[in-house]
Symmetry: C2
Subunit: 143 residues, 2 copies
Amino acid sequence: MLSITCKTAIKATIYLASKLESEQKASIKEIAEYIDASEHTVGKMLQTLVKENIIKSAKGPSGGFFITASQTQLSVLKIVLAIDGEDRFNECGLGLSKCSSTHPCPIHNDYKIIRDGFKKICVENKIADLSVPFNKGVAFLMG
Amino acid sequence: MLSITCKTAIKATIYLASKLESEQKASIKEIAEYIDASEHTVGKMLQTLVKENIIKSAKGPSGGFFITASQTQLSVLKIVLAIDGEDRFNECGLGLSKCSSTHPCPIHNDYKIIRDGFKKICVENKIADLSVPFNKGVAFLMG
DNA sequence: ACAATAAAAGTATTTAAATACTTTTATTGT
DNA sequence: ACAATAAAAGTATTTAAATACTTTTATTGT
């Protein structure tokens, strides 16, 4: 449903949100280790999130990536749109190209419910909703 | 949700099912043209479907691919499993690796509903259900 | 028997996503 | 000022999926 990079982005963002209270910044290395992903992939992807104003970054010593309280109120959808784009929610489940509401394929309505349901999850869950303070454990983030 | 090849497989199978009544076989070329896909891709993929007994083939002049009445009673799931494999229905929506029913991530249950819903569509829809006799038009199959 | 046809099968290339590497820029603390 | 740090940015490689090409095998009709 989502690309690997997009899932990595969600994990990284949740990790940053879990550190919100501690006010600590996290380096690429730290994030990559925590979510068990490649440093290079994580670095590139974090740049995109910064550009889209989903997280913030600071260069130099004691720099790193972090998220603000207001940014944790953004929906998960924002991350998905930033990394995977909007098309993710507009495909026919069976790939029937001419499928649309005016010319529906046999499972059009069944699938629309599923697709819209997934989008709803992304819209209704804020980044903060998926995070728990660091001390409560974010074990489910680790591979 | 499904790979391009898997969607192509579904389209091709529906096309064959739409020709069931006419008892005509279809060549790779004909199928590829109809569903607007590459002949090579379609050829390879049809081989897989034949091996998995989802469709049948005949070599030689007046040969080609076809589907039997009993095969049209197979579920769409069979095609998905043959091409994409079972893993397609076992991933956490957000890629949270340690996510499971005993250790659920925050959206585990919401997403499970979605994922299971999609699988249900694949299980409950027979190939025959997605097909209409050729003369009724299969316009939605074309790109 | 033989030519024609069409799938089967094997191999090669292309493409896009993911991953890896290198250089540059900005910031900090001394 | 300068050394150290860490992200930003640019480029290169790897990987897997998709697509392309070639040869072989089976079947049919003459």
